[in-house]
C-alpha cells in the first residue's frame, strides 16, 4: 500500500509543474502577478518535496533493488512495438530529479525578485514551469522515447525563453539559432533510436517495451554490432543539447534570455541532458570503444577550447556561457573514459555553483541597470556584499579549490582521465582547469575590485538585490561549499558515497556475462587447456600487479590532486594580480603576436563565420538559385501552377466555339451526332 503511494508520487513529481504551467498559461491575462509567481514556485516546491519523498524510499531499499516505477498508460502498441507512458526512478534519476527540482525551485524564487518589473511576468513563470515539467520527464521517463519527449520539450522551452524578449530582433534570432542547432542534433538522436529499435525489435518477447531502459539493458549484448553507430548517433544529439563541438555555438547566444533562464536552463539543468543520456545509456557505450574515444576526445577538446574563448570575452554572461561549455566538456570527458559516476557528480556540483554564478551575475546586472559589459563595472564588492561573497564562493568552487564542491568532482574526472583515458586527455583537462581559474578571477576582478567605471547615472542606482534574490544565492553558496563532500574520494580517507550510490546503475552486468561466455567458449575449444592455464596465470599476475599498483596509485592520486589544486590557485592569483594590480600586463597580452591571438579568441575562433561561409552561404545560394528560382518559381509556379491554368484556358477557348448560341448549329451537331451513331451501329452491326 505504501509502495503504491510512492509510485503514484512519482507521476505527480512530473505532472504538478505541468498543472502549474497550464493554469498560469491559460489564465495568463487574468492571473494577478503575485499569485502567478507564487503558484509557479509552489508547483516546483511540491515536485521537490515529492522527489525527496521518493528518494528517501529508494534509500531504504537494498542497493541492487533501488527502483521505483510508475506506468500511467500504454502509449504505442504497433505490432511488436510497445511503448508505455511511464516514469522510473533509480539512483541516477534520483540525483537528476533532486538537482532539477531543487535548483529549479531556488531559481523560481529568485525570479520572483528578478522579473518583478517585467511585463511578461506571468508568461515567464508559465514557461519556467513548463520547462521543469519537460526536464523532469526527461530524467524520470522510463524509456528512451519518454526521454526524447522531454528532450524536445526542454528544447522548445529553451527557445521560448531565449527569445523571451522577442521585441528585440537579436533575441529572436538567438532563439531560432538555438532551436535549429538543437534540431540538427535531435536528428542524430532519432536515427540512433531507429538503429536501436530495428536491432532489438525482432529479438524481443511479445509485449516487452523495446525502448525501456531496463529491457535495452537486459538485451544490451545484442546491440554489440551496432553499438558504435547507435552510440555515435545518440552522441550527435548530445553535442547539440550539451553544447559540445561542433554544435556548441548556440549556447553563448542563448544568453540573450533573462538571467534566471541562463542559470536554470543553460547552465544547471537542460545542458546536462546530453551527459545524463550518455550515462543512462552506459550499457550501450561500454560496448563501443570507438564511441567512447570520440566522446572523450570531443569532451576534452571542448573543455580547453571553450576555456580559451572565455579568457577574452567582455560580457559577463558570455564568460559564464563559455565556462559552461567548457565544464560540459569535462562531464563528457568523464563519460568518455567510462567514469559515468564522476560525470554525473560534476553535473550536480556544477549545477550548484554555475547556477550560483549566473544568479550572482544576474544580481550584478540588476544592480548595474542591465549593463552586462564588465569593462563598465568594478568596485561592486562594497555595494553588493551578499552577491560578492556568494559569487566568490561560486568562483573558487568552479576553479576547483579544496574543499569546495568543484574540487572533488573535477579532480575525480581528471584522475579518471589520467588512469582510464591517457595523458593526452588529462593534459587537455588540466590546462583547461588552470584557464578556468584564471578567467573566473579576471571576471571577479573586473566586476568587484577597483573603481566603478559606470556613468554617474548608473552608479547612483547601484543597490543590493531584494531577499528573494539573495536567499537563493546564499543557499546555493552553501551547496557549492558542501555539495562535493558527498563524494570525498577513498585516497583522502572518504567513502565516495556518491559513486557507491550510483554504482548499481553503471554496473556492467551484460558486458561481464559476455566476457565470461567468451572464456568458457575458449576453454571448450581445442586449445582449451592451454588457454585456461594462460587465463589463470594472467589473472594471478594481474592481481599481483594490481596489489602493487594500489599503493602507487594512491600516491599518484595525491600528486595529481595537489598539482591541480596548486594549478587552480596559481590561476586564481594570476587572474587577481593581473586584473587589479597590473592592468598593463593584460594589455600586453592583448598585443601579443600583433594582437592576432587576442583577435582570434575575442571572435571565438571565427567559428560562427566559418559555419556561415561553409554551410549558411552555400545553403542560401542553393535555396536562392536552385530551390527558389528553378524549382519554386520555374517548375512549380511556372510549369505546374501557371501551366495548368494555361491548359484550362486553351481547352475552354476551344469548347467555347461550340457554345455560340445559334440554335441551328446545335441542331446540326445533334443531328450529325445521331447520324454518326446510327451509322456506327449499322456498320458494326
Amino acid at each position: 500500500m505504501e509502495t503504491h503511494a510512492v509510485e503514484t508520487a512519482l507521476r505527480w513529481i512530473v505532472l504538478v509543474p505541468l498543472i502549474g504551467a497550464a493554469v498560469n498559461g491559460l489564465l495568463v491575462r487574468r492571473m494577478p502577478r503575485r499569485i502567478a509567481g507564487l503558484l509557479a514556485c509552489a508547483a516546483v516546491g511540491v515536485s521537490f518535496a515529492l522527489s525527496v519523498k521518493v528518494v528517501l524510499r529508494l534509500v531504504g531499499m537494498d542497493a541492487e533493488q533501488r527502483l521505483v516505477t510508475d506506468t500511467l498508460a500504454p502509449w504505442l502498441g504497433l505490432g511488436p512495438l510497445h511503448v508505455n507512458i511511464g516514469f522510473a526512478m533509480d539512483q541516477l534519476s534520483a540525483v537528476m530529479a533532486l538537482v532539477v527540482s531543487g535548483v529549479g525551485f531556488l531559481i523560481h524564487v529568485y525570479s520572483l525578485g528578478y522579473m518583478a518589473h517585467d511585463a511578461g511576468y506571468n508568461r515567464f513563470f508559465t514557461y519556467l514551469n513548463l520547462f521543469i515539467f519537460a526536464m523532469l520527464t526527461l530524467v524520470l521517463g522510463e524509456n528512451l522515447l519518454m526521454l526524447f519527449v522531454g528532450w524536445e520539450g526542454v528544447g522548445l522551452c529553451s527557445y521560448l525563453l531565449i527569445s523571451f524578449w522577442f521585441n528585440d530582433e537579436a533575441n529572436a534570432a538567438a532563439g531560432k539559432k538555438a532551436f535549429i542547432v538543437n534540431r540538427i542534433g535531435d536528428f542524430g538522436f532519432l536515427l540512433g533510436m531507429f538503429v536501436i529499435g530495428t536491432t532489438l525489435l525482432p529479438e524481443l518477447h511479445h509485449g516487452e517495451g523495446v525502448f525501456s531502459f531496463q529491457v535495452m539493458r537486459e538485451y544490451a549484448h545484442l546491440l554489440g554490432p551496432v553499438a558504435t553507430l547507435a552510440g555515435l548517433l545518440l552522441f550527435v544529439g548530445a553535442t547539440g543539447k550539451s553544447a559540445q563541438i561542433p554544435l556548441y555555438i548556440w549556447l553563448p547566444d542563448a544568453m540573450a534570455g533573462p538571467t534566471p533562464v541562463s542559470a536554470l536552463i543553460h547552465a544547471a539543468t537542460m545542458v546536462t541532458a546530453g551527459v545524463y543520456m550518455i550515462a543512462r545509456m552506459n550499457f550501450l557505450y561500454v560496448l563501443s570503444e570507438t564511441a567512447m574515444a570520440v566522446i572523450a576526445a570531443v569532451g576534452a577538446v571542448t573543455a580547453l577550447f571553450a576555456a580559451t574563448i572565455a579568457l577574452t570575452q567582455n560580457d559577463i554572461k558570455k564568460v559564464l556561457a563559455y565556462s559552461t561549455v567548457s565544464q560540459l566538456g569535462y562531464m563528457m570527458l568523464a563519460c568518455g573514459v567510462g567514469a559515468f559516476a564522476a560525470g554525473i557528480f560534476h553535473v550536480m556540483t556544477h549545477a550548484f555553483f554555475k547556477a550560483l554564478l549566473f544568479l550572482g551575475s544576474g544580481s550584478v546586472i540588476h544592480a548595474m541597470s542591465n549593463e552586462q559589459d564588465m569593462r563598465l563595472m568594478g568596485g561592486l564588492r562594497k555595494k553588493l556584499p551578499v552577491t560578492w561573497w556568494t559569487f566568490l564562493i561560486g568562483t573558487v568552487a568552479l576553479a576547483g579549490v579544496f574543499p569546495f564542491a568543484g574540487f572533488f568532482s573535477k579532480d575525480e574526472i581528471l584522475w579518471k582521465a589520467w588512469s582510464q583515458g591517457g595523458i593526452g586527455l588529462w593534459l587537455l583537462g588540466f590546462l583547461g582547469a588552470g584557464l578556468t581559474a584564471f578567467y573566473m578571477m579576471r571576471l571577479v576582478s573586473l566586476t568587484f575590485f577597483g573603481e566603478n567605471r559606470a556613468s554617474d547615472e548608473v552608479k547612483h542606482h547601484i543597490h543590493e538585490s531584494p531577499a528573494t534574490m539573495t536567499m537563493p544565492l546564499v543557499i546555493l553558496a552553501v551547496l557549492s561549499l558542501t555539495g562535493g563532500w558527498l563524494g570525498i574520494p577513498h585516497f583522502m580517507g572518504g567513502q565516495n558515497h556518491f559513486e557507491t550510490w550510483l554504482e548499481p546503475v553503471f554496473h556492467q552486468e551484460a558486458a561481464g556475462h559476455h566476457e565470461a561466455d567468451l572464456v568458457q567458449e575458449l576453454e571448450h575449444g581445442a586449445l582449451g587447456e592451454t588457454v585456461a592455464v594462460l587465463a589463470t596465470s594472467a589473472h594471478v599476475t594481474h592481481d599481483v600487479i594490481e596489489g602493487l599498483d594500489h599503493a602507487g596509485e594512491e600516491a599518484m592520486e595525491w600528486t595529481l590532486a595537489s598539482a591541480s589544486l596548486a594549478w587552480a590557485l596559481l590561476g586564481l592569483s594570476l587572474g587577481t594580480w593581473i586584473y587589479t594590480k597590473r592592468q598593463g600586463l593584460a594589455a600586453a597580452g592583448q598585443r601579443f603576436a600583433g594582437g592576432a591571438l587576442h583577435r582570434v579568441l575575442l571572435n571565438k575562433y571565427y567559428v560562427d563565420e566559418m559555419y556561415e561561409a561553409a554551410i549558411l552561404r552555400p545553403g542560401y545560394a542553393v535555396s536562392e538559385r536552385v530551390l527558389f528560382r528553378t524549382v519554386d518559381a520555374g517548375l512549380i509556379d511556372g510549369l505546374l501552377v501557371n501551366g495548368s491554368a494555361i491548359l484550362v484556358a486553351i481547352v475552354s477557348a476551344l469548347l467555347r466555339l461550340f457554345q455560340n448560341g445559334r440554335l441551328r448549329f446545335y441542331a446540326w451537331v445533334f443531328a450529325s451526332g445521331a447520324a454518326g451513331f446510327i451509322l456506327y451501329l449499322t456498320v458494326s452491326g
Partner: protein, 101 residues
C-alpha cells in the same frame, strides 16, 4: 402491288428526313416547329406499321399517346413562340442567341 411494311417504312424515312432538313435549314422558328411535327408523324407511321405487321395492338396505343404528347407540345410550343414574338418582334432563330453567354 401489295402495300407492305417496307413501303410504310420508306414513307416514314422520307418524312423524317424532310422534317430533319426543315429543322436544319429554315430560320423561321414556326416552320422549324412544323418540321419537328412532321418528324413526329413519321415516327407514328413506323409505330403503326410495325404494330400491324406483328399483329400486336400496343403500337397503336403508342400512336394515340404520341398524339396527346404532340398536342400538348404544340400548345406549349406555340404559346412560347407567341411570347417570343411579342418580346422580340421576330421568330428568326438566328436572332435568339441571348443564351450564348
Amino acid at each position: 402491288m401489295e402495300v407492305g411494311l417496307t413501303h410504310y417504312l420508306i414513307l416514314a424515312g422520307a418524312l423524317f428526313l424532310t422534317g430533319t432538313a426543315g429543322v436544319l435549314t429554315r430560320r423561321n422558328s414556326l416552320i422549324m416547329f412544323m418540321s419537328v411535327e412532321i418528324m413526329l408523324s413519321s415516327v407514328n407511321i413506323v409505330f403503326a406499321a410495325y404494330s400491324r405487321a406483328s399483329g400486336d395492338l400496343s403500337g397503336h396505343v403508342f400512336v394515340l399517346m404520341n398524339f396527346a404528347v404532340a398536342a400538348a407540345e404544340a400548345a406549349i410550343g406555340l404559346a412560347i413562340l407567341v411570347e417570343i414574338f411579342r418580346l422580340r418582334r421576330s421568330v428568326n432563330v438566328d436572332d435568339l442567341n441571348s443564351l450564348m453567354e
